[in-house]
């Protein structure tokens, strides 16, 4: 079963990569200068994020041994010291990584990205970031305007409902959506599944899918949401999936793929994988611990 699934995922990914490669060949250089700048900025950001793994101990007892230690763990070891304090570079590295994590929490998802995928925005009752952090309950319910927008603009009772939310990391959406969403849509198409009207939830928590489920009554729902940022990466995204989401769903009834980012689960593969899982959910009419993958 698992092998079959892997084969399927591989197929879809291969298809998609072919397509992407073709697309990049076809795209004239001058066509979208704004986008090109943006993309290279993203790459530069990712490159900068690579921790500078240099051994700073000036006269280690065993030079090669030190490199061996560094290779064995991503922990910040072999950093050396001045007196009892860290070296300036090490200290600034830590501050820089923390800044990226804080930016992810307080940042906003790029509006152009949402427009690119025709995602309209609804808000939860979170009101502001401080409140969002203090009151997780408010991030689980859409505000009145949001409810009205969904009723007005969304297809009711879709087979698959896709929802995107900033959650605890707006930059996770910025960094991954462009890869995850097309591969997810492709995957759904290859399974012959139909998709409702996707949208973006500002200030959403995972359980906002229950409220959305009540409103739109999809068969299955996937929520792509930014994770709590760490220092290794601030761009990690999760996909929470649920069969017939509604109020009172418990955590164990949700299926999740976490750690979606360039250095974790590859975003393109994740998109394809989500499609496969959603089709299994529809087949088995179950999700979470009840779902057999």
């Amino acid at each position: 079963m698992e092998q079959q699934l892997d084969v399927l995922v591989d197929k879809v990914v291969a298809e998609l990569q072919k397509k992407l490669a073709e697309m990049s060949k076809q795209t004239p250089v001058q066509a979208e200068p704004a986008l090109a700048v943006q993309e290279s900025a993203v790459f530069a950001d990712i490159a900068e994020e690579e921790p500078e793994r240099t051994a700073n101990v000036p006269h280690p007892k065993w030079e090669e041994g030190l490199l061996e230690l560094l290779e064995s763990t991503p922990a910040r070891i072999g950093v050396w010291r001045t007196g009892v304090r860290p070296l300036t570079r090490t200290m600034l590295q830590l501050r820089r990584d923390h800044a990226a994590a804080v930016d992810a929490v307080y940042g906003e998802v790029d509006q152009a990205l949402l427009e690119e995928f025709s995602l309209f925005t609804v808000e939860t009752q979170y009101d502001n970031t401080e409140n969002y952090l203090k009151r997780p309950d408010m991030g689980r319910i859409l505000n009145e305007e949001g409810v009205r927008l969904l009723q007005e603009r969304c297809q009711m009772r879709p087979q698959v409902q896709i929802v995107v939310s900033d959650g605890l990391s707006a930059s996770a959406i910025d960094a991954n959506l462009r890869d995850v969403l097309p591969s997810l849509l492709d995957s759904l198409q290859s399974y012959g599944l139909s998709c409702g009207t996707p949208f973006f939830v500002k200030g959403g928590r995972v359980a906002s899918m229950d409220h959305i489920g009540e409103l739109l009554q999809p068969e299955v729902l996937v929520l792509l949401i930014g994770e709590r940022p760490g220092l290794v990466t601030a761009h990690s995204m999760s996909a929470y999936m649920c069969y017939r989401p509604r109020k009172g769903i418990v955590e164990s009834e949700r299926t999740v793929i976490s750690n979606i980012h360039a250095k974790g689960t590859s975003p393109i593969e994740a998109g394809a994988h989500i499609g496969t899982i959603l089709s299994k959910m529809l087949e088995q009419k179950a999700s979470g611990v009840k779902l057999v993958l």
Partner: protein, 453 residues
């Protein structure tokens, strides 16, 4: 029992003790989330005023969570020494605070009245204390414990080396242990949070840490912070564990959410005494932290400070070697910013010490809190001044497995140097033998992890 007072021309009437306790707290986002916090500073001070006049017997006679309904309450109630309680039962909470802070009340007097106090009474005294009160009171109490070595002596600041690895790779864990030891950390424990909660994996890590300890003759103790049942399985399969670990909550429901109850803790206690590898007589490592009961919806409408104090009431039944509050791990919905985290760290340390516990603190934060490394510097120094038994050492404070920041090996060396503190005596001797430390100062060798290769 009077629940009414006037503050700045306004009358405040509180419903019950639970409300007084909650509203007398300093501002915490967790109490606000629970909907039980004071509405403003006036109401807060009114609650403190009412609390200050209540007597210790008022508190005992009006239990916040009755012993019939909760086994943690039963453990606390059964632990009270009746003779000592009778001597102080008519004290108001104000008098208790003043006694604790008085020059007459030294270490041994405080240890004596501690036996007559419930966790709720200790929590009540914390609610009437300023940050400096909490530091002054705690600094008088030295709770010395012994596992393989003794820690907690006056002038000693010990440290846990926390060498976590995102995939439990034994070599990677070992690398971070070497780094920590080379900075003089590791006297409290070499303690690993595993990713994989299986007996085999726990056993592998315990074996590796024991091997390192034996090879270099390191006077310390090892521990793998898996669920207690997993550790028990590993120990029964012959894994060498000096201590046994568990996270605690302050209510029976909260502990159920952690997958434990008192019977299970008793069983684990029995096992570690019979099959642990250390000298003892202290074999436990407990962790706590404000907010865990609310997050499990097991707080019974009681404020997070009082629930935290009840964790210590449960912990003291087992005479642990170390206890620490993981103060900033739980997130901004319980402790929003540095002000709240610093306050909670000082409260927890004081309350633990008043319970007679060997209190440490994981001075830490997650990235979605309004806190940064400077705040950790501050809290670390404040706790060092308050006589904290140990803090946590993580390479450059960045835990690559748990994804949060704590204090670093550098920080521990700095706390010791600035505050005139030393490692545990047995461990310091070893550091000297290894050439890492001389006269309480790190040598030129310190900071080179390859000396252990």
């Amino acid at each position: 029992m009077n629940l009414k007072t006037r503050v700045l021309g306004e009358t405040y009437q509180f419903r019950d003790l639970k409300e007084v306790f909650a509203k007398a707290n300093e501002e915490k986002s967790g109490d606000q989330l629970a909907g039980i916090a004071a509405g403003d500073s006036r109401e807060r001070v009114a609650a403190k005023q009412v609390l200050s006049d209540l007597t210790l017997s008022d508190i005992r006679n009006h239990p916040l969570l009755p012993a019939e309904k909760d086994e943690v309450s039963r453990v606390i109630e059964e632990g009270i020494n009746e003779k000592i309680f009778r001597e102080i039962q008519n004290w108001s909470v104000a008098e208790l605070r003043e006694y604790i802070l008085s020059h007459e009340a030294t270490d041994s007097e405080l240890k004596r009245i501690s036996r007559g106090l419930s966790s709720e009474m200790i929590a009540a005294s914390a609610k009437l204390m300023s940050n400096l009160d909490l530091i002054t009171a705690a600094a008088k109490i030295r709770n010395i414990t012994h596992c393989n070595i003794a820690i907690g002596q006056p002038g000693v600041l010990a440290a846990r080396v926390q060498p976590n690895h995102p995939a439990d790779h034994v070599q990677g864990i070992k690398a971070a242990i070497y780094e920590g030891l080379s900075y003089g950390s590791g006297d409290a424990v070499i303690g690993i949070n595993p990713v994989i909660d299986t007996a085999d994996s726990v056993k592998d890590i315990l074996l590796m840490t024991k091997e390192v300890m034996n090879k270099w003759d390191i006077p310390t103790q090892n521990c793998v912070l898996a669920h207690v049942t997993t550790q028990m399985r590993a120990i029964r399969q012959g894994a060498p564990a000096d201590m046994i670990f568990q996270s605690l909550a302050g209510s029976e429901d909260g502990n159920r959410a952690f997958g434990i109850d008192v019977a299970l803790l008793d069983e684990a206690d029995d096992l570690i005494r019979k099959e642990g590898t250390s000298t003892g007589p202290n074999y436990w490592y407990f962790e706590t932290g404000q907010g865990s009961e609310l997050s499990a919806e097991a707080h019974h409408g009681i404020d997070q400070l009082t629930m935290e104090s009840r964790c210590y009431g449960l912990a003291r039944k087992y005479n642990p070697f170390i206890v620490n509050t993981v103060v900033g791990f739980i997130g901004p919905e319980y402790l929003y910013d540095s002000r709240q985290v610093i306050r909670a760290g000082l409260e927890d340390h004081y309350m633990g010490k008043m319970h007679g516990l060997p209190m440490g603190c994981d001075v830490c934060y997650t990235n979605h809190m309004k806190v940064d490394q400077n705040d950790m510097d501050n809290l670390g120094i404040l706790l060092s001044a308050a006589g904290v038994n140990f803090v946590i050492g993580v390479a450059m404070a960045d835990d690559v497995m748990l994804n949060y920041q704590s204090t670093s090996f550098h920080d521990i060396a700095a706390f010791r140097e600035v505050m005139g503190l030393r490692p545990a005596p047995a461990f310091e001797k070893w550091l000297e033998k290894m050439g890492i430390m001389e006269n309480g100062k790190l040598t030129a060798l310190a900071g080179d992890p390859t000396i252990f290769m």
